[in-house]
Symmetry: D2
């Protein structure tokens, strides 16, 4: 148990706000919510002011209401905060949502309509036609949709979302290749960690000495649709999907953290593929968070890892405090054009860390 887990704040040089911005976390007692609380501890721009959970927890101090399961100590400040019930008026304008999808849809709309900036990890609004589905290294310009959304809501509030945990890994891994050659087809098989299902999501009797070739909640559908929005364009107030097709087959494996995936890609400019050039494009890939030096931005969003047998979840998931995606085994595919292996820390870069980076982008762009 380390005392704290910090995102790579040291490198941050974006213009900091003059004082730390107060934030609320919705669904603060759940597994994503706990990650928000952990990662916000010591954040240079944001300060946790409010924790929100279900009626059942409301009124208790957070330290009592949350069944803390992370391997760092619960921050003292957070432990002392009283849990507020979902729906209550918040003092913070910036609101992180780790709500369960059963309630997230309505609750997030509600807060956005009241003027809050809701930075959500939930799936409900990801595909809405005026809600950005952000990976700031790829589609920072999609925040242009916020304006249209604010109009619809008739106020200053809005929602931005980050993708499904596996999609973050997939979309980042293929982004430099899409830019180089264009992508037509994606075949991906995931091997996903148990933490992706929440603390009680997968029974040990179900998964030890086993693999489950299925994940509920429409996981395959998300992986087959979200990357097309993310890597698509935002033009004339419209999202236009990228034109590739995706086939996703998902599996739950007995790892704690870190979604690993095998990827095959069919390219548009398939006659000019140069593996060495692709490898360099992956390792040299940078985006807005790096240019803006956002506090939670990894130095490199993609690390190309050498070695026939890498990346591996336990060895590579914590690269740059879990904010970098690792890629390896890039080689030609006998069927499509290129294949490779990618790894994303599903509860950091794939969830709470992604949302925090999104919020930093909003602040840097003057949208908070």
């Amino acid at each position: 148990m380390e005392d704290t887990l910090t995102l790579p704040y040291a490198a941050a040089q974006a213009k900091a706000p003059t004082k730390r911005i107060p934030v609320a976390v919705l669904g603060a007692t759940g597994s994503v919510g706990q990650r928000f609380v952990q990662l916000l501890d010591g954040h240079p721009w944001f300060k946790l002011h409010e924790v929100v959970a279900s009626e059942r927890s409301a009124g208790k101090p957070y330290g009592e209401a949350a069944d803390w399961r992370l391997d760092t100590v619960m921050p003292d400040d957070a432990a002392a905060l009283p849990v507020k019930p979902l729906g209550v008026e918040l003092k913070s304008r910036l609101v992180f949502s780790g709500l369960d999808s059963a309630v997230a849809g309505e609750a997030e709309d509600d807060y956005a309509n009241r003027g809050c900036v809701v930075v959500s990890n939930s799936r409900n609004h990801r595909m809405d036609s005026d809600v950005p589905l952000l990976i700031p290294e790829i589609n920072a310009d999609h925040i242009g949709a916020v304006e249209r959304q604010q109009k619809r809501r008739g106020g200053r509030g809005y929602i931005v979302t980050n993708p499904n945990c596996s999609v973050v890994g997939l979309a980042l891994a293929i982004a430099p290749i899409e830019r180089l050659y264009g992508i037509e087809a994606i075949h991906v098989t995931t091997m996903q960690a148990i933490s992706g299902a929440g603390y009680n999501g997968v029974a040990s009797y179900a998964i030890i000495d086993n693999v489950i070739p299925y994940i509920g909640g429409g996981e395959e559908g998300k992986i087959e649709s979200e990357p097309r929005k993310i890597l698509g364009r935002f033009e004339k107030d419209q999202f236009i999907d990228a034109p590739f097709r995706i086939s996703a087959q998902v599996n739950r494996v007995p790892t704690i953290d870190g979604h690993l995936m095998t990827i095959s890609l069919g390219l548009r400019d398939r006659n000019f593929v140069n593996v060495e050039q692709v490898r360099e494009a992956i390792d040299n890939f940078r985006g807005e968070p790096q240019h803006l030096r956002l506090p939670s931005a990894p130095r490199k969003p993609l690390h190309y890892v050498d070695g026939d047998d890498r990346p591996q979840p336990r060895l590579d998931r914590d690269r740059e405090q879990g904010m970098s995606v690792s890629v390896g085994r890039l080689r030609p595919c006998p069927l499509l054009d290129l294949r490779m292996v990618a790894l994303v820390h599903n509860t950091i870069r794939g969830a709470a860390g992604a949302a925090i980076l999104n919020a930093e982008l909003l602040e840097a762009k003057g949208l908070l």
Copy 2:
């Protein structure tokens, strides 16, 4: 620890030999060799007479030489056999080989040249132009190559082989589809059990809470080539490969036994695909071992398993004593045409059990 593990002998009704045929096992102390010894115990046609291992073990009783790791008791008869050194003259004509590929190539040739029938699980001779690579449900007619091989060797001896453990699962799973529609392209990602690497093949420090996206020994290459021979034709003394292309991406996962794989298939007659018809073709698939009622033949070589989340290694690997392949999640593929999940018990149907079934076919066909 059960007293013994028997293959489904009860159903056997092929004409039995008048007395049990004496057999030898090469590499008997290794992990595949131990499975041979286990599965031959109580076999109605074959009787273990000789165990062969390296010089180091030679002379010791098998019970002392073998570091027995299976969860049934070592058969008393086997324990008492003296281990013979590789290369020694054998009294048995029928020889099972579980030799390491480092020595199998030469040793198997040597015994075949001396007149033995070598039924091998090793990879060395699988792709030889006159050596059958057998899955009796699929290509029993490939044993026609034996005659040409005997001529080359100038005697009665010959080698037959069974495929790589993952290939057994893949080839059986796609065989009925190949017959229905023809296959053009196969995309497969495997999640393979640690027993596939032998008892000491994967360190626990390497695989607990982890996945390794790589398997040595040319695993991907075997999966990309062997099915083409197996599902190909044997005509005019020649093997002619099936025309499909395969892309295989392999992973080691922390399961004890059972290789699981996600499969996508591109079909030749893609316009007429009927998922329900395919499902029935899988579940109704039968072959020579079923028609001949060979002692180790499963009643059904393929079981279609209902349920969104099946097959699973721990729940389905022992179906029909590990001799059946389980298939599930058959559905259209957004990229190719069909996709599904398959599971094979890698050390039974994928190794020693496969070789024993091959030997039973040879006996039933009068080739011993």
Copy 3:
């Protein structure tokens, strides 16, 4: 997935009932209930006639109501049985109970008062002053208490129980030593499998790469009290506890099945301890089930396993179809007198199998 799992019926030669006795299973959809259904399939004396579960399942066929998690196929006969609600009048006099302890106390009393013979795996009535807590190899004479219990209930009905899963292993392992030397003190640390908590009892996020030094439901208290009743005497209508004291420290470890425990014993006749003699006493231990040749009786209730590193859960739990306890590493203790390691299959000999053996004893003694 094997077709069925049978207890060692082959050896059974006790006088069989003229026709199979109809039985009911209470809590049939739970994890212990499923084991009952599995183990009763093909039982030579008993035939499953009724399955009972909560209101929620009532009316559905068992095949639909039960979320079957065992690695053998659900018996067809069982699948077709309609689930009856708890409390309903039963046609079977013999009733197996795998009820959750939250409801078992009252429900079992109720059926016993109505004239049923309730053979229970639940903890509620184990320590009652007229309820036998049976391990037939140790205390078959405790069924004498049934008479007193019948008087109390004013009818033919009664309850008998089997011990906590860890206690079955502990009590059997020490029984021959108690007879040889007398036991004064027992120190035991258990490492218990996840199946002991039911299918959803332990979250994978809680136990992979981990050990939990605690088990709820008063586990340590049961281990510290039940063996004293089991190894005590039944005299003059009274249970008199054995005089030893026990300290139990329990742990949950990431194994599927099989509770392993380290045991240290302080003896009354400590000056005469002969390790070799103890080892033989363990391996030669037999009891009523062996003398009566009950259908589910293992040939040997205790197996002494040689080898510095045995017994081990995965290698030894299935010995004699899970009905035997394995013991190893017997050696002097620097603190007390003797120490050793024991292993019990927690869901077979430690639960459903134990209850079935108890019912067989009752039948053989004319108490059904």
Copy 4:
């Protein structure tokens, strides 16, 4: 993969050396050696100057010779160092030894005789009559033996050792109780992580879904003897063992890092035991490293962890960067007097971190 793992240097305020002391690591490519290299990176007092391994690695750069298995990046400085062969003359006087016990005995003597200060993690010299077996929080005064050892060697060189990994946890956990009440008897059962056996020490096939009730190399003997020296006295140039007796039963479980143990204690002043007082004594325990504010000293060497089910390896092993031992479940023992659960990070506080703390003590005491 984090960029580095640092021990809690921030708090260090002991008088630092004027410039960083050059050090060598023996057995640098092994698992303990890699931990030395990792933990020395960025150490405020010590600077890695030389890496020593077997002939086979000699001459290669460390980055090539070492099969790095830790989840932080190999330090660039270390990667560039050429590996020197064991036996070569070293420039560093301070030498850390992570040598295998097969060679450590002679090699460490050799370097000490040549004038080096050998701070060893190997077992060979731990029980020598003039070699301190140090846990600086407990027996810092044992370094008095160094003087006698230097005389024997006829020079300035000497050896100090740290205990076996489990012993570090046991000795620290009981030290405050020994001081309060005196200890007469210790019963300990360990559940040890696979990393304790080195990277390839435990095959995955041997340990997944399993527990092995045995650890080679005399593990139980070490746990039964080393604590008596550590908690004993050094008087008149002699080590006098503490008078308690220990019974240790060891198990290997499928955890990556962190040895958990259940402990029962018989006390000398058993009539005055106050559980609350013991708990406070554990949590308030401090020693020389804390008083001297050594760079690697944890703020608290012992953390008492509340909660029925704590400590747990995965949640508690990294407390204070792996340098603190966690204790929980303190309660009376029905057999002896007190019982509890303790946890130590076996490769940090139980190995390389322990040795580094020992070296810091030597420097602070002017012995380098």
